[in-house]
Each structure stands twice: as structure tokens, then as C-alpha cells.
């Protein structure tokens, strides 16, 4: 995979920059540890050799397209990331003709940290049912045709606990939360100009960095992604205190799948389930 994928991405990037199709290619390069990848912004065709692709390329680069509005930009996306492209297209946040999508059939990414690289496949890749990008202009790798049925064993495990245990679990996580908002900043679906958590009038969430407020932040953050989360799990990866945010997102993903038969970001013209309705919805309310 590695060398070949890397070469294909470099060649494409070079071509796009030389022709002037795009003014920037957002991909991955080797980070300061010499071990793991980091996002790279290439503007000059002479610099395409900085680009790499390996199994530490877990960042969802689609988030960066939001900063490139009005500028033709190419972006390297994996299967999960590509769903973010659709999400942002359907929510009219980016324009299709401004984005050149270099899709990569995802070989799965490993658990890594700065200067640390394991062989352990990330959880998100175990859950992933979309290794092949759903949208692309150029594809690297052979499309995966068969994906296993969804599996929510992690959610079930949490649900097996008592309510008290679950409350205690999340309280403990909230105690650790620093409210650094890295989860929000990394999320391609979080692009509000003014986030509710920073609103002061009314002050929805107090500025106290304490369990009560932190829990409210985490609950609403997850809920605002309900039916919109594309399962790239970047929020959990970037969390400096390892809060298992995927559990919240996956719980919602499972519910959205069972209640509304919906998966976010599978095409560019779908409507998220919470901004629409069916008159005959059967949701166990007042029936």
C-alpha cells in the first residue's frame, strides 16, 4: 500500500497544481517525530514529495475545506472522511466544483501518538463499513465491495450497565474534561460561527470547567451531531484526556439507523433526520 499510494497521491497533486486546477492540495506529510503523519498544505508542485500516505493518516482533512471557501482545493480523503464531504455538501458549506477529492481506499489506520506507532488497528476502523470513499474525483486503491453488517457491541456493553453505573461513568469522564473543545475543532460537522457553548446571553453552559457543565457540553455536542456524525472518530482521537466520545456518537448512530434507517454523509443530497419528519413516524411517543 504505502509507497504506491504515496506515489499516486504525489503524481496527482503535482498534476493538479501544475495545471492550476487547484491552488492547494491538502494531504499528509511525515510529522516532527519522523514516525507519524500530520496534515500538509502543498501549494507548490515542487513540494509534492512531502506528501505521504501510511496507516497513521487518521486526521480528517475535510475540516480544512471550511477554511478554503472560494479557493479551489484538493483534499486527500479516506472512506470515513469522504462522508464528511457529502455532509458538508448537503449542508451547503462547501462547493463541489471548488473541491477536488483524492479518494483513498482506506487500508485502516493504527493506534498512534507522537513518536509512537503501534500495529493495533484503531477501533474506528473495526466499526467502519465504508473503506471506499463515497465521493471522489480520483481514486487510489482498489474499491472494497463487501462490507460486513454493522456492529454495535461497544454500545451494547455500555447499555448492559445499570443507569447508576452509566451516570457514574460519564460523570467521571466529565470530571476529566478540560473543555479544550478539541473535539469540536477537529469535527467536520462542527462549523457554527458561534457555538452554543460560548454564548453568554443566554449563558447555556457556565464557564466553570467542572463535571456538571462539562457533561452538558458533551451531551449537547454529541446531540448536535445526531444523524450528522460520519464516524471518523476524530473527536475521540484528539481528546487530550481520552474521553471515549465515540460511545456517544455511536449510540446516536445506532439509534438513527434503527429509528430512521439513515447513515450520515452517504450522498450529497440527503437531509439529516432531525431537520425533517414523516407524519407516520413511529417513535414510541404518544402512540
Amino acid at each position: 500500500m504505502g509507497a504506491d499510494f504515496t506515489q499516486q497521491i504525489r503524481d496527482k497533486a503535482k498534476e493538479l497544481l501544475e495545471k492550476g486546477t487547484v491552488e492547494c492540495v491538502i494531504g499528509y506529510e511525515t510529522g516532527s517525530d519522523g514516525v507519524s503523519a500530520r496534515p500538509a498544505f502543498i501549494h507548490d508542485p515542487a513540494e509534492v514529495d512531502r506528501l505521504v500516505f501510511d496507516n497513521t493518516c487518521s486526521h480528517n482533512l475535510v475540516k480544512y475545506l471550511l477554511n478554503k471557501k472560494g479557493k479551489p482545493t484538493a483534499v486527500v480523503v479516506k472512506g470515513c472522511d469522504s462522508r464528511a464531504v457529502n455532509l458538508l455538501l448537503s449542508e451547503k458549506q462547501i462547493e463541489r466544483n471548488q473541491a477536488f477529492i483524492i479518494g483513498v481506499v482506506c487500508p485502516s489506520v493504527v493506534e498512534w501518538g507522537w513518536n509512537k506507532r503501534s500495529e493495533q488497528i484503531q477501533k474506528r476502523c473495526d466499526w467502519c463499513r465504508q473503506h471506499t470513499p463515497v465521493v471522489y474525483d480520483f481514486l487510489v486503491g482498489e474499491p472494497v465491495t463487501e462490507e460486513p453488517p454493522p456492529d454495535f457491541a461497544d454500545v451494547a456493553e455500555m447499555e448492559a450497565k445499570t443507569t447508576e453505573e452509566r451516570a457514574a461513568f460519564w460523570r467521571e469522564q466529565a470530571e476529566r474534561c478540560l473543555r479544550c473543545y478539541a473535539c469540536r475543532q477537529a469535527c467536520p460537522g462542527c462549523y457554527c460561527i458561534d457555538c452554543f457553548v460560548e454564548e453568554l446571553d443566554p449563558e447555556w453552559v457556565g464557564i466553570r470547567i467542572a463535571p456538571q457543565e462539562n457533561l452538558m457540553w458533551n451531551t449537547i455536542r454529541a446531540f448536535h451531531l445526531g444523524g450528522r456524525c460520519i464516524s471518523c472518530n476524530e473527536c475521540e482521537r484528539v481528546c487530550p484526556v481520552n474521553i471515549p466520545l465515540s460511545l456517544l456518537n455511536r449510540k446516536l448512530e445506532q439509534e438513527v439507523l434503527s429509528l430512521f434507517d439513515y447513515r450520515a454523509g452517504m450522498s450529497d443530497d440527503t437531509i439529516a433526520p432531525l431537520i425533517t419528519f414523516r407524519k407516520d413516524d413511529k417513535l414510541g411517543i404518544g402512540e
Binding site: 443507569t163 451516570a167 461513568f169 451531551t219
Partner: protein, 136 residues
């Protein structure tokens, strides 16, 4: 929960139906527990999930959202949105340790005073059984 072990319930009632229903319960002397603190809202669709989570954050033991029956929304479709929204929120809250039984969504029309009283009575009873929530 207050000192005397009475659950505190926050109720968001739609101005066009449930609020009038509560009023009807009052004028027709249908007694219901005083545990509920009523907020009048223009539509159940106006109830932002933030309000629900905020209530629980601040220590409410249970929250009720009541709106018009499907098809009867004063604004045509507000309650259809709230139905989806709260069906999902209820699941998330339960997952995070707030029992489903603490968060109810009900359709109550302006003429259903008796029903409103019964809903609040039942809800209060359920909330009492569940006991107080710990927040800090």
C-alpha cells in the same frame, strides 16, 4: 429534589394545546401534584434540546414536554420535528445515566384537562419512585 423528598418536574407546555389543557384541569378542579413547574412555550417544536439538558443539569428530577397531537400543530408541523428530536434525545440521556422514565413527551389537547392531570399525577408518582438525581 426538594428537602421533603418531593421530585421537581419541569414542564414545557405548548401554548396552543397543553398549556390550555393544564388551565382546563385547573378550572375544572382536576387536582394534580404541585411538583410540576410550568413553562409556557409557543410550540413543542420550540423546545431546544438545550433546555431539557439544562433542566437536568440544574437538578430537575424529571422533564415533561407536552404539545399538540400529531396533525394538530398550530404551526402545522412543529410537533413532528419535536417528536423526532426528543425520541433521539431520550435515548441519549438514558445512555448517559438519566432514565428514560424521567423524560416524557406527551400530546395533550386544550380539551384534555383531565388527561393532563392524570399525566402529571402518574409522572410525579414515577419520578418519586425513581428518587432524586445527584448533580453538583
Amino acid at each position: 429534589m426538594s428537602a421533603d423528598n418531593e421530585p421537581l418536574i419541569i414542564g414545557f407546555l405548548c401554548n396552543w394545546c397543553s398549556y390550555a389543557g393544564a388551565d382546563m384541569a385547573g378550572t375544572s378542579r382536576q387536582a394534580y401534584p404541585a411538583n410540576i413547574r410550568i413553562m409556557r412555550v409557543p410550540c413543542s417544536g420550540r423546545v431546544d434540546p438545550l433546555l431539557i439538558v439544562k433542566c437536568f443539569e440544574e437538578g430537575a428530577d424529571a422533564v415533561l414536554v407536552a404539545g399538540c397531537h400529531p396533525g394538530d400543530c398550530h404551526y402545522s408541523e412543529g410537533n413532528y420535528y419535536s417528536r423526532r428530536r426528543f425520541a433521539l434525545l431520550r435515548e441519549l440521556l438514558d445512555f448517559m445515566g438519566i432514565e428514560k422514565e424521567r423524560f416524557r413527551i406527551e400530546w395533550v389537547s386544550a380539551s384534555e384537562g383531565k388527561r393532563f392531570a392524570k399525566i402529571v399525577s402518574d409522572f410525579t408518582e414515577d419520578a418519586t419512585k425513581l428518587g432524586s438525581r445527584k448533580v453538583s
